[in-house]
Point group: C2
């Protein structure tokens, strides 16, 4: 048998397993079967923007940030770096004889749900609100994760999630029924799934927690069997979200028993269970709810994947990837470059880039200035080196001979900051004002952090389980902003968040506004590169920035009407695709070709967006030298 | 009236006050008396090892760390830097027309309690277990805080605390009665108070929470009136610990009413109240428990202090100290120098200093490697720049061309690390082992943090309110150490703690052991300076390192029998005063003179300790060049 005939080898191996063994292999904590030479393997791993939850790794900018780069070429390099680090770590872990959680090669990334509403806490895991942009970024990511230089083996498995029609509310995700019409389903919610499957052959798809149009996503005949397999031709395996199979009886009340839930899921094509429902398949077989043949086919699919990853062979070139690639210099440089492309300049009256700063003083103010959590987003690894926004500004200021004074000014959302000692709240705003009074220019680092927007159970804004209830900044930040602006010193406003925030006041009263997102371990260096003009900003918003949730439909309404730039009827504060440059670049279109004129002394990256009928249908990134004229081709690719 | 006749000016000002106004001024939150030109003033400020709890400041090593330097000259420079920053901040704060908590000039530092038992959570705020060392460090500190270049005004007020016989248990401090004999009282617990009062004229003393020999410390006729004022000739003011006056009736049950407590305290010489008891003085006067004259004298003392600080004059040179001194370059350099002198080398088989590291790999392991809280200790400010141990090692490794891999390895005390994602505990030790397997040398950064040893209400080891119950490292750390040592790679063990830890296993099985204490914002740079040989270690232990609490008397027993190097009958793991150097230095004594022979190529600081009858009676710090012979005079100074 040829080594590349993975399906045949899987079939042969599985043929030697008992029913109980087969069922055990459908669980994400697949135990060893020693008599068959099968080691213990935990399928759960994460790599959303770097190898996650498994010690040190290069922590690239959060997904939403990378979407703002509109740079699929760089995204592919980032994903290649991630898969190199994933393999390097796996090569070490497997020496222990087993592969535990977060140690394997099956990555449950990317999250290609559509960020339909800025309130969704997990929106920053996605590539934003546009299906085409989402698909393009995901294709680049999946290829980088899966494809390497080994002609036989897959480098890592990518998993598209959460299939399908999933974007909050977090508090109801285990019981929610998303109601969606045919047009929105295909044009918005499924577009990226279909396209990535066509273009990048992802190994896996993860089912969502919720129901969609009444069917539990992880056991949906419509979604899994008819659309995913039959219509989209998906050849890979499906994994349930964690605990989602139990939800089918416990919270969705579609089935009566756990055995029925498990059988329904596998029968409809969910081969792998994250959770503890599939052990009930034994009872399900006994009760005639599912055949052993169906189970056998599911196990064969999973072992085909494991064989394809080279787990049972000794000639996989990825086995030679050394541990030294983890957080290597090249990856850190790549990270800084990506991070600098994720920054979106939203306003600039000419204050940026900062110049002639020698002997000047910069006041850096705000709860996100020296915060490390905002560098990381969620589903993140731990960087062994990181540069906060403050540190990046300090280091850059050192090189130009400027001084930096820093004041936190307030807790990010509470009235009181326990980390600063009793009663510190009284002094916090005064400290900020004092710092501002020393300064020639102020950089305010405000916004949210991943504890304020995130996943059910992970984010700390318990009231809404990770979702936001407002687009406004917390009151303590508003008060700080007011106090700082009253000092009338030129001010650059840096908003750090993974989602749209109401930046009306900053837009009206600050000299410049930068949207920073969650910029990764090199975030401070990247921001400094932008602020001090080492790099011209080139990011564009992957989501619409509204003024208020009052402009939007109910959060639980999955109709796309009046949502995202494609359907929003109002005038946003900043539209999808918006982003300024230091360079003065104009576009001139002639059919598929766009000629760019850079009428400035600034060198800059630039993304040309092509819209048709108000919908993004193509984009191309260019890099323009000072006073350069460049023609790029941007066909309608949607 | 001459401006320097502060007492007379205070008397005149106070003479215009009503009784109610006078009482209000005995509270730490002294309100404004506008008709008399007296602004609002909050007496509470902290400066234990840097301006604390008031935004950014240079954060020097924790007090226990600086005691390990045995460097009174440098300590004085540190305290001068602190008072410069305190003044610079005050000059800004007062522009707001009031001075709130942590904004004034009256510093409730230093803590000169004797660290009689390693279990005391607040021990790291002190200068250790020896009365003489404590006094010498405190004298240098108090002078640096109080004395400047203005002939008329005091720079800041220092406050000796907690008077007296105070060192846990934290959980009982509001009701505890410390029983102490005459000899221990004077030779151990009061020695430093007496000596600092004689040598450095501290402005204030803070009373302790507990009772001593039955009397509440903040209202003790014996301690305050007879000993402090009459015997020691203390001329300054006394402030209560915060809430301590309420404890007199509520928890000590010495008085029946709050008015009685307040009267008892002021009558015995506690002029200033941190807490809310002294408003009851109005009732106390009405009930005849205290005279208005006594209250008047107390207020006069407090206003004498405020006049002496130049708060009511416009010719105080300290008013010109600019904000730019805060965290200035000179202070950062001073901080790094002090931090490097606080590191104590406890074992070295020759592995240190690390040399010929080009192309080599260093594994940095442990929960304290990249922790920021251990840099800060408690009663701390916030550094705008800081260098973790890991970062310091990384930066130093960069300069010599070595690679660094990092793995946290475990949570500092819990079995599970929520910051690292679900199930991370499974991978943590594996990550450490993997890192070690890449390495030529391992640096383990273990120990405690200030949440595990600290003050009642501040530290998180709730079971003992901040005190330790064991000298052992947490089990998760022991397991990590075992796993790392099993890999048999040369290992340097860095213990980070503010108190003695049982380091038996490290001493037996590691190639070198460094006691790091809580090293301040420059801690990582300072440690790297030591590890890579840029600076030779010169710190000495200011406390005995025992093997176990089993060797010690009951924690609540205040007899000094079998405690500290002066009375301990056993053989400690490392004795008080212990500390190695890279240099080979021997001592030869001739009367008061000690000739030092440096028989090595290493330049090194070195502290000569003079003991008589087993008790430290003098010390002098020297700095030896390679192969230098130096004679220093060390008289019996005790």
């Amino acid at each position: 048998m040829k080594k590349t005939d993975f399906a045949a080898r899987a079939k042969e191996l599985v043929s030697k397993m008992t029913l109980a063994e087969k069922i055990s292999q459908l669980c994400y904590t697949a135990p060893a079967i020693e008599r068959l030479g099968v080691p213990e393997y935990n399928w759960w791993n994460e790599s959303l923007h770097g190898v996650a939850r498994s010690g040190c790794a290069t922590v690239f900018p959060q997904a939403i940030s990378m979407a703002a780069s509109f740079d699929t070429v760089l995204m592919n390099r980032v994903a290649t770096a991630i898969s190199d680090e994933q393999r390097a770590k796996y090569n070490q872990y497997k020496q222990f004889g087993s592969t535990k959680i977060y140690e394997g090669l099956t990555c449950w990334s990317p999250n290609i749900n559509i960020f339909r509403d800025p309130r969704w806490g997990r929106g920053h895991e996605t590539y934003g609100e546009d299906p085409y942009l989402t698909a393009e970024m995901a294709i680049a990511f999946v290829k980088g994760l899966q494809e390497g230089n080994d002609p036989k083996y897959r480098k890592c498995d990518a998993t598209l999630k959460h299939y399908a029609v999933h974007s909050g509310p977090e508090s109801k995700r285990h019981s929610f029924d998303a109601q969606v019409n045919e047009k929105d389903l295909y044009e918005t919610y499924l577009y990226a799934f279909r396209r990535v499957i066509e273009k990048a052959d992802p190994s896996a798809v993860m089912g969502a927690y919720n129901r969609t149009n009444g069917e539990a996503c992880c056991a949906s005949e419509t979604l899994l069997r008819k659309i995913l397999r039959e219509e989209f031709g998906f050849q890979g395996y499906v994994v349930s979200d964690c605990g989602a199979i139990c939800d089918i009886d416990k919270n969705h009340h579609i089935t009566e028993t756990r055995a029925e839930s498990a059988a329904l899921a596998v029968n409809n094509g969910c081969e792998l269970n994250c959770g503890d429902a599939y052990p009930y398949l034994q009872a399900a077989v006994a009760a005639g709810l599912i055949t052993e043949e169906t189970i056998t086919k599911a196990v064969e699919m999973l072992f085909t994947a494991r064989f394809r990853l080279g787990m049972f062979d000794d000639d996989c070139v990825y086995d030679d990837i050394p541990f030294s690639v983890v957080e290597c210099k090249e990856h850190r440089e790549l990270n800084r470059k990506m991070a600098s492309e994720t920054m979106v300049l939203l306003k600039n009256n000419g204050i940026l880039p900062l110049s002639d700063m020698q002997g000047k003083t910069i006041a850096v103010i705000g709860p996100n200035a020296d915060a490390t959590d905002v560098l990381l987003g969620n589903y993140n690894g731990i960087p062994s080196r990181y540069t906060t926004l403050l540190r990046g500004i300090q280091d850059a200021a050192d090189t130009v001979g400027a001084d930096v004074v820093y004041a936190k000014g307030c807790h990010i959302f509470e009235n009181y900051d326990s980390t600063m000692g009793h009663g510190w709240g009284q002094n916090a705003v005064r400290d900020a004002i004092i710092a501002v009074r020393q300064a020639d220019v102020v950089i305010m680092c405000m916004g949210l952090n991943p504890s304020m927007e995130g996943e059910e159970g992970d984010a700390y804004n318990g009231a809404s389980s990770g979702d936001k209830t407002t687009l406004d900044l917390p009151d303590v930040q508003k008060e700080l902003i007011k106090a700082v602006l009253a000092e009338d010193v030129p001010t650059v406003f840096v908003n750090v968040s993974g989602s749209a925030i109401n930046l009306t006041e900053a837009d009206e009263n600050c000299d410049a506004v930068v949207q920073c997102f969650y910029p990764g371990a090199e975030g401070g260096n990247a921001l400094a590169d932008i602020l001090f003009g080492k790099v011209s900003p080139s990011g564009r918003l992957p989501v619409t920035f509204y003024h208020s949730v009052d402009e939007l439909p109910d959060f639980e309404d999955y109709s796309m009407e009046n949502r995202t730039y494609r359907y929003f009827s109002g005038t946003p504060l900043y539209p999808f695709g918006y982003g300024l440059s230091y360079a003065d670049i104009t576009e001139q279109w002639d059919g598929d070709n766009c000629t760019l004129y850079n009428r400035s002394n600034f060198e800059s990256g630039y993304t040309v967006l092509r819209y048709e009928n108000g919908v993004l249908v193509g984009f191309t990134r260019a890099h323009l030298l000072p006073h350069q004229i460049l023609t790029v081709c941007v066909p309608n690719d949607r």
